[in-house]
């Protein structure tokens, strides 16, 4: 259950930038909601919008400590493949969609669809905000030829001797490395 909620949060973090971009495009300011904030320049609103998913991502990293543990020993990994850039095409796609959405209700509808598909796609928890916190994305192939997805702060290049002691299981394909 807790894992399910956590995955919802991760999915929201990965897709919420669409809403931010839409709001920026529409020049929707916080002062529209709270007239007292009129004194601040426009970009303050945009920064606040952007900080919300950043904050939620930070919280999700914190919650990840409570997930189920796994580990990999030296010699378990046969191949390592960088995946930092793999999310860029889909992310650019999100951005262009957000820029061309005409109405708020269209946004809600499109966001809902993207949310559901990102959640169900399992391997697609790519959230570029992880990069801000120093995390990188990698595909690892184990010694028994099974491919998994790892979010880690380490710079991985050489699979020999590589080990992870504090992996947290987000789902059966995705793991986050909480080793400092």
């Amino acid at each position: 259950m807790m894992n399910f909620l956590f995955r919802l949060l991760l999915t929201f973090n990965a897709t919420s930038l669409i809403i931010v971009i839409y709001l920026v495009k529409e020049h929707f300011l916080l002062s529209n909601l709270f007239p007292k904030l009129n004194v601040f320049p426009d970009y303050i609103s945009y920064i606040v919008y952007f900080l919300i998913p950043v904050l939620l991502t930070f919280i999700s990293l914190f919650i990840a400590n409570a997930l189920d543990n796994d580990s990999m020993k030296s010699g378990d990994i046969k191949e390592v493949e960088q995946a930092n850039n793999a999310f860029l095409p889909s992310y650019l796609g999100y951005f262009f969609v957000a820029l061309s959405i005409p109405y708020f209700d269209t946004l809600i509808f499109i966001f809902a669809i993207l949310f559901v598909f990102t959640f169900l796609s399992q391997t697609l928890y790519f959230n570029p905000l992880f990069l801000i916190f120093g995390y990188h994305f990698y595909y690892l192939t184990t010694d028994n030829n099974i491919k998994i997805f790892i979010i880690t702060k380490k710079q991985l290049k050489n699979p020999s001797g590589m080990s992870f002691d504090k992996l947290k299981r987000i789902n059966n394909f995705t793991f986050i490395d909480k080793e400092k």
Partner: protein, 272 residues
């Protein structure tokens, strides 16, 4: 890191991850004087049977020869909780196996005394004090106490079952549910039946009185030509074939097809 896996039943049964970071079984301190497997040998409390060079045996499973990587195993989904064939705890390159039978699943009604309410407890699986089998990878040795407990974990390991000795055979034929007739006695029991006796003795030792009588009822239902005395409640065994029928019955090899109601005998058995 310690990991507990469950192997599910069925043809496509797979290993699934249950939990991690828990010490499930302790390594017994008495593994240092292992006995090579021998059906006739009765283990002392502090002894274990051992099979050396286990990974080269045909009944060894790939799971033990492959490298153990916990991230490869999916988390066990809820609908598989009742479908566990056995558990395997991986603790520092040592694999501990426990066979899971229906008796390991426990769900009881609990009476809470301070509230005086009855609640059905959540189902649990009882973990035995000792594992049924222990595989130490660094020594490539499998330790176990009872071959029957692990024969569905390592398919084909029951070929190790040797035939019952003359003494065992006599003991078995002396059971009060057997009435020997027609000059048939322990000396006439052939090799195939001796093997079956060795297994049946193990099987029948787990039956209580009620189970025994229901198994006899079952055997009578399938083997009409096997003579049964209602008063003494025993079977008359006069030939090898009679004994074979009885032994198959004890192993519950007889079944009826759901369509067509055909009575059949299972030639070999695999738990699914």
């Amino acid at each position: 890191m310690n990991n507990l896996l469950a192997k599910t039943k069925g043809r496509i049964g797979s290993f699934l991850k249950v939990i991690s970071d828990e010490l499930i079984f302790d390594l017994p301190t008495d593994l240092d004087n292992p006995i090579e497997y021998n059906t006739d040998y009765k283990l002392e409390d502090d002894e274990w049977f051992a099979i050396k060079e286990f990974s080269e045996k045909e009944y060894c499973i790939d799971f033990l020869t492959n490298r153990f990587i916990s991230t490869e195993y999916d988390i066990i989904p809820q609908n598989q909780y009742n479908n566990i064939n056995y558990l395997c705890s991986y603790q520092e390159d040592i694999y501990y196996f426990q066979k899971v039978n229906n008796r390991h699943y426990v769900s009881k009604k609990l009476l809470y005394l301070n509230r005086l309410t009855i609640t059905e407890s959540e189902p649990i699986i009882v973990i035995n004090e000792f594992a049924d089998a222990i595989y130490v990878k660094s020594e490539d040795t499998l330790y176990f106490k009872k071959l029957t407990a692990i024969s569905t974990i390592f398919k084909g390991i029951d070929t190790l079952y040797k035939e019952a000795t003359q003494e065992d055979t006599e003991d078995f034929l002396n059971n009060d549910f057997i009435n020997l007739g027609g000059n048939y006695d322990a000396t006439k029991v052939k090799k195939a039946n001796r093997k079956r006796i060795a297994m049946a003795m193990e099987t029948i030792s787990h039956f209580n009185r009620e189970e025994k009588s229901s198994i006899f009822e079952y055997i009578r239902g399938y083997c009409e030509d096997l003579e049964f005395d209602e008063n003494d409640s025993n079977f008359t065994i006069e030939a090898e074939d009679d004994l074979k029928k009885l032994l198959f019955g004890i192993e519950q090899r007889y079944y009826t097809t759901p369509l067509g109601n055909e009575k059949r005998l299972a030639n070999s058995i695999t738990t699914i």
